[in-house]
């Protein structure tokens, strides 16, 4: 498995809630070690694509392959086993509110490793330090700021050293400085760990700062309009919606 190999491949995927089709004809590839952005206007189905990629929503049709293996053709127990290689940071952090920050990070380690309690505590403390929250182990999610909750969300998502990290709107609700710091942290983690990062966002500053590749989803046609490097798409795309999206705010 080499950096740049296909890691996640979508082949003619259609996603729906009952009879309500959200997206269809999705075919794109996410390369290993890339920061990949799923973008588009509000309501285009970005989070639905994310739910499907993280194993929470079965596609209506088509295949989603991880390392060449079609995920939804596996048995449920095998899917669950593979999901341990995913880390997900939700928009709100989705921290378990009845647990301390340390316990939030420890839970996946307790569930899926045979490490001793002391070893688990050490790893949890390291993960929290990695996201700049050394010393906050015994705080509860309600006692920290939104930006800190997102960082804990990243620490928890990384608890089992996943192969793929998913981020749902990581910079939503953050001030520009906190957003930039979070971007820098994501890049640093990618560069040091080689983890594939898949991110749903429409924060342009974040997209241009960290993205290697992206897909643009459209709400009206309910399918992808294009895929490629966002900086190149901004300069070259001949699709009006994509150009308008990536150039908004320019004078």
């Amino acid at each position: 498995m080499v950096h740049g190999d296909p890691h996640i491949e979508l082949d003619d995927v259609a996603l729906a809630y009952g009879s309500n089709v959200i997206q269809r004809d999705l075919s794109f590839t996410i390369r290993r070690g890339d920061v990949f952005i799923i973008m588009g206007c509000s309501g285009c189905g970005k989070s639905t694509v994310m739910r499907s990629l993280t194993g929470l929503l079965e596609p209506q049709s088509g295949r989603i392959c991880y390392n060449g293996t079609s995920f939804w053709e596996l048995t449920e127990s095998e899917r669950k086993r593979r999901m341990r290689h995913f880390g997900v940071m939700y928009q709100s952090g989705a921290l378990w509110s009845s647990m301390t920050l340390r316990e939030n990070v420890e839970l996946p380690l307790e569930q899926y490793t045979d490490l001793s309690g002391a070893q688990i505590r050490e790893i949890a403390a390291y993960k929290l330090a990695l996201v700049g929250l050394n010393g906050f182990d015994d705080y509860y999610p309600s006692e920290i700021s939104g930006g800190m909750r997102k960082r804990v969300g990243v620490a928890r998502a990384m608890a089992l050293d996943p192969q793929i990290l998913f981020f749902d709107e990581p910079s939503a609700g953050l001030d520009p400085v906190s957003g930039r710091l979070l971007d820098e942290m994501i890049l640093a983690l990618r560069d040091s760990l080689g983890t594939t990062m898949v991110m749903v966002t429409h924060d342009l500053a974040s997209i241009f700062a960290i993205a290697d590749d992206c897909v643009f989803l459209d709400a009206e046609t309910k399918t992808m309009l294009t895929t490629g490097n966002p900086r190149e798409l901004r300069d070259q795309a001949d699709i009006v919606q994509v150009r308008n999206f990536l150039r908004r705010g320019e004078t």
Binding site: S42, Y90, S92, A94, S98, P108
Partner: protein, 388 residues
């Protein structure tokens, strides 16, 4: 050249006026004048539309604002009504004569329609349609309840095999919240129910000089059914609702999604400890409620019925047999499971908004009380049938 024929202006006591000028080629100009502001009395839209309807061979509507002194949302609301009317009849509207700001705001109302992600369930209007949808919803809901019970049973099986995953600290916390913390309210309610039973019993039995049997009445009623029933109803309102609210909020905050993506079963991790907690604590609380109810009955028997404490408690002790206690414990266990399953089911079914957490909580209590009542009736019949 087109000659214009001014119509009767739609006037009001204020300075806001709109006048129709009808040209021969079917073109109408609406001339606005005065102050079109929300603090003025404005011409009625219906009157203007009626005048437009009366124009024969209407092709387009233009606007003239040269005499307009001031405007705000009042003018825009009026204009939107006219424009919608024109659109519905295929009549062109020419907006060049309107102030630039008004034109821009009208454009905005037409462009800013982010509706792609909106989902709206059309409610069937016809009675038979509604009846059918309700029937389908009931069947679906029954299927979900059965499915949830099945998943919970599988989780219990995994627990027996020591394969289930949940935190023991959560279980102890739940046991404390469900059991010890519920003692004051269970004490109060069961004591008062015992007291009421004794009072009614005493009034009736006194007519036959059989006051002593008040102890039998209270003790048997509490031990067989009332203790378990009171406990279950208190727990449905207190603990079942709390379970639904906790799990519902976790659903809203994506905490349950976070568990699923880690491959952790929410049924095992969240539902199982709550189920165990209530199945363990409800019988214990029911025994406690039995004792409190008998105690409540003793107060009435001693003060109103003229019994001594020794007479009352000896009579009560002789009345209650092992089979009665066993019936009460079985009842309580079943009711506890119903409260836990109802609370957890509604919490897990919760939508992703604050309003749905409220609905889940209400639904949890209603579901629990309905099924507790059904279970009480069924169990009573079964115990009688088997001669228990």
């Amino acid at each position: 050249m087109t000659a214009t024929k001014p119509s009767k202006p739609a006037t009001t006591a204020s300075s806001a006026l709109v006048e129709l000028h009808v040209a021969r080629d079917g073109r109408v100009t609406l001339a606005f004048s005065g102050r079109w502001c929300i603090d003025e009395t404005l011409p009625l839209l219906g009157d203007v539309l009626q005048q437009l309807t009366d124009v024969s061979d209407l092709r387009s509507v233009a606007f003239d604002s040269s005499a307009l002194k001031a405007w705000d949302s009042a003018l825009l609301g009026h204009l939107m009504g006219v424009i919608d009317w024109c659109r519905g009849r295929g009549v062109d509207d020419e907006r060049d004569g309107l102030p630039d700001g008004v034109q821009a705001l009208l454009r905005l109302t037409e462009e800013a329609s982010e509706h792609a992600d909106a989902r709206h369930d059309d409610k069937p209007e016809h009675f038979l349609e509604r009846l059918g949808s309700e029937a389908v919803a009931i069947v679906r809901s029954t299927g979900e309840i059965i499915g949830f019970i099945g998943k919970s049973a599988l989780a219990v099986r995994r627990l027996v095999k020591r394969q289930a995953r949940f935190r023991s600290t959560d279980l102890w916390l739940i046991i404390q919240e469900t059991g010890a913390d519920a003692l004051p309210i269970v004490s109060l309610v069961s004591f008062l129910v015992g007291l009421i039973l004794a009072y009614i019993g005493d009034q009736q039995l006194e007519q036959f000089g059989a006051n002593i049997y008040v102890a039998n009445l209270v003790a048997l009623a509490m031990v067989i059914q009332m203790g378990a029933l009171i406990t279950a109803i208190v727990l449905a309102g207190r603990t079942g609702a709390a379970y639904a609210a906790q799990l519902g909020t976790m659903q809203v905050n994506e905490e349950i999604d976070a568990l699923r993506t880690l491959g952790i079963s929410p049924i095992e991790f969240l539902v199982l400890p709550r189920l165990i907690g209530l199945i363990l604590m409800t019988p214990l609380l029911a025994i406690y409620a039995d004792l409190m109810g008998i105690l409540g009955g003793s107060v009435v028997s001693m003060t109103v019925g003229g019994l001594t404490a020794a007479e009352y408690f000896t009579q009560a002790q002789q009345a209650v047999g092992f089979n009665h206690v066993a019936q009460g414990l079985i009842n309580a266990t079943v009711y506890g499971a119903i409260v836990a399953i109802s609370g957890c089911l509604r919490g897990m079914q919760c939508g992703r908004s604050a309003a749905s957490v409220g609905l889940a909580t209400t639904s949890a209590v209603v579901t629990a009380i309905v099924f507790i009542t059904i279970a009480a009736a069924v169990l009573t019949v079964v115990f009688n049938a088997v001669g228990f």
